[in-house]
Amino acid sequence: MAEPPLVELDDVSFAYSQGSAWARVRTPVLESFSLQIAPGEMIGLVGESGSGKSTVGKLCLGLMRPESGQVRFTGTPMRRQRPGTLSVVLQHPQTSLNPRLTVERSVAEPLALARADRTGRRERVLQILEQVGLDPSFAQRYPAQLSGGQRQRVSIARALVTEPRFVLFDEAVSALDVSVQAQIINLIRSLQDVHRFGAIFISHDLRATRYVADRIIVLQAGAIVDEGSAHRFYEPAKHEYTRKLQLASDI
Amino acid sequence: MAGEIFGRARVTIELAVLGGLFTVVPGVALGLLGGVSARRRGSATATRLVNVLFLSLPEILLGGLLVFVITTYVVPFTVGVWPSLVDDPAGNLAAAVPPALVLSTFGIGVVMATTRRAVGTVLDEPYVRATEIRGLPVLTTYRHHLWRNIAAPVLTVFGIYLAYLLGGAAIVENLFALNGLGSYLINAADQRDYPAVQGVVLAAAAAFVVINMLIDVLYGVIDPRVGRRGAA
């Protein structure tokens, strides 16, 4: 029998609700939405702002519950996973790290949560820092002493230090300038080759996405409008909206 | 008891109204001045010092000092009497002004700080920075904008303060030997006269509710777009 998908959204509907009890504003975002991510697969999620990309990502991490439908992790309904199984890299380098913690303590946090052996932690932290291209001298720095790109590298190190099975990269490179973006994308690609974690890579930028992802999903107003393996997106797409995205990100 | 409470309420309400006046006018004025001059380092420090002094002056010190001065020297103020406002307005003011001044010091500090902060917010807006207008002209050039930014927070602070004035006149009435609600409350507490304590607390709570309703109405007048609650 085939291996179950790593993460699966099965016929999921979701809406945000805001406001007080008597003046509730409901914002429906997803309607009967389904998505499967295989172990070790990197999904690229592209679409315009507000199309629901982050919402899909948060549902996959179990940060929010769907209104209806089911989220499954390795075939069983999503619940609190063992610490270190899931992780996330978010957009803003300014707030992705606790300003009170050294790089070492930030990166070691998921290990501590996973109750990893105390003595091995330090070595593991230095090892993963090296993998993201930061030498050991960075371990004792505070976030205020790092550039945006370096902070994002630390976030990636923290996300991967426990060898998670699923990682969400939500606009992990959007706030960086173009040359740094390229470095970070290369880094994610090469780390994924080594660690084979499943992942969602969210971005506005189709060019970056088709470079890292195995499969790309195009989202518009909460619905999948186009989908296919990444190299398909190098050719001019048939779908009109996808072509617009291509035009926006290609020269 | 109800009769006594009403009779004494005259004193306390007049103190609160006068104290409120003495709070808002100088508080807003000092806050505007301080906020506008905050760009220069020296005057910013002076402003902060003045503001902190208002917040630090104990009522029992200022009140004691005033009572001492009034009872020792010949001054046009009185202690321990409360002529009716209608029959003897001058005598009434002579009795009411000093305790009202004492009541207002802390409030001046609070209103001043609130106003300063609001002025600071306006001055930090990019278009204000861009116009290169500095100093007092800012007050007239951006008066609508300033007014909108200052009115709501000052009103909030003032509402809280009015409730305090009504209930908190106890110290001042005690110092100036006035027969108001505050001194009545303290006497009742001293003698463990629970019904009397309850009576005053109920009266203060009622005043508190009424004031808050008035303030909610005023919010609507100041800014018709959003009620205070709607924004949250």
Binding site: V88, P110, Y142, A144, S179 | V52, S56, G167
Partner: protein
């Protein structure tokens, strides 16, 4: 797409700052902060160390009744002929310590409630906020009177009254800070990694709200001293033979025409103590805003 820079070249190293943005007690170039700190150290020092200083016995009747300052009794004497110098000194300690204890309680409770409110369901949060608002706008002296009527006058009543007065603001500050921090990305990362409420509070919320809470503490301590002064003045707080600055002012009030210094000196010292904490708080706040 080449990975040209980084591998953490030491060249990228910036001048290492020792700690992240945090309160530095030497208020850089702020004379008001220094003045406040000086006053604070002086008053706390006298208030705590007064038994060791050669000020005299605060409880012994050694001089004339109710006299103004003289060479022998620098601050004068009270109605029992006791020297006011040691009495004021010990009263400083009582006033500051009572207020500090109360604010400590208010801080612990307020931060706990604030953090919970930030994490609670919206309905619970609204309830907490509404109750805090009502408590906040309730007249200070009324609270104090109710407390002292229920508990009977004395130190505990003074402490409870100060807690009741300072708690609402502390809850507001802590809640606002917690709400701000909870939204930050590093908290989400920790949650995804499996952190629970206790971990997030300890690791992320408390260290990042520390400064705002400390600033609020200094303001609360000065407000607490004013409250203590007021209710002890009215005879609802500290009772004889115990004394505090407010109680001294209350006693001195009866002899205002004979010896005004009996009221004015402890009143002035109370003002100085309040000023000291307010100046320190204001300086810390100004420094925070600059960052």
């Amino acid at each position: 797409m080449t990975d040209s820079s980084t591998t953490g070249a030491p060249a990228a190293a910036r001048p290492a700052r020792s700690a992240p943005r945090s309160l530095r007690i030497p208020f850089r170039g702020d004379p008001l902060g220094w003045l406040g700190l000086l006053l604070l150290v002086l008053l706390v020092g006298v208030g705590i160390l007064h038994p060791l200083l050669p000020l005299g016995d605060p409880l012994a009747s050694v001089g004339p009744r109710v006299a103004g300052p003289s060479a022998r009794f620098l601050l004068g004497t009270d109605e029992l002929g006791r020297s006011l110098l040691p009495r004021v000194a010990s009263a400083i300690g009582v006033t500051i310590v009572l207020s500090a204890i109360a604010v400590l309680v208010a801080t612990v409770v307020g931060v706990a409630i604030g953090c919970c409110a930030a994490y609670a369901s919206r309905r619970v949060d609204q309830l907490i906020t509404r109750v805090t608002d009502v408590l906040f706008s309730f007249p200070t002296i009324l609270i104090a009177v109710l407390v002292s009527v229920v508990l009977g006058p004395g130190r505990p009543a003074a402490i409870v009254a100060i807690v009741a007065v300072t708690l609402p603001t502390m809850i507001r500050v802590a809640r606002a800070e917690a709400l701000r921090i909870v939204e930050l990305d590093f908290v989400t990362s920790a949650e995804v990694a499996g952190a629970r409420l206790g971990w997030i509070v300890r690791r992320h919320l408390l260290p990042n709200m520390r400064e705002a809470v400390i600033v609020q503490c200094t303001y609360s301590i000065s407000l607490g001293m004013l409250v203590e002064g007021g209710i002890s003045f009215l005879g609802l707080g500290v009772q004889a033979p115990d004394t505090s600055l407010g109680a001294l002012v209350g006693a001195g009030r009866l002899y205002l025409t004979v010896a005004p210094s009996y009221l004015l000196i402890p009143g002035f010292v109370l003002g100085l103590a309040v000023l000291a904490f307010n100046l320190v708080g204001d300086s810390l706040r100004a420094q925070r805003r600059e960052q």
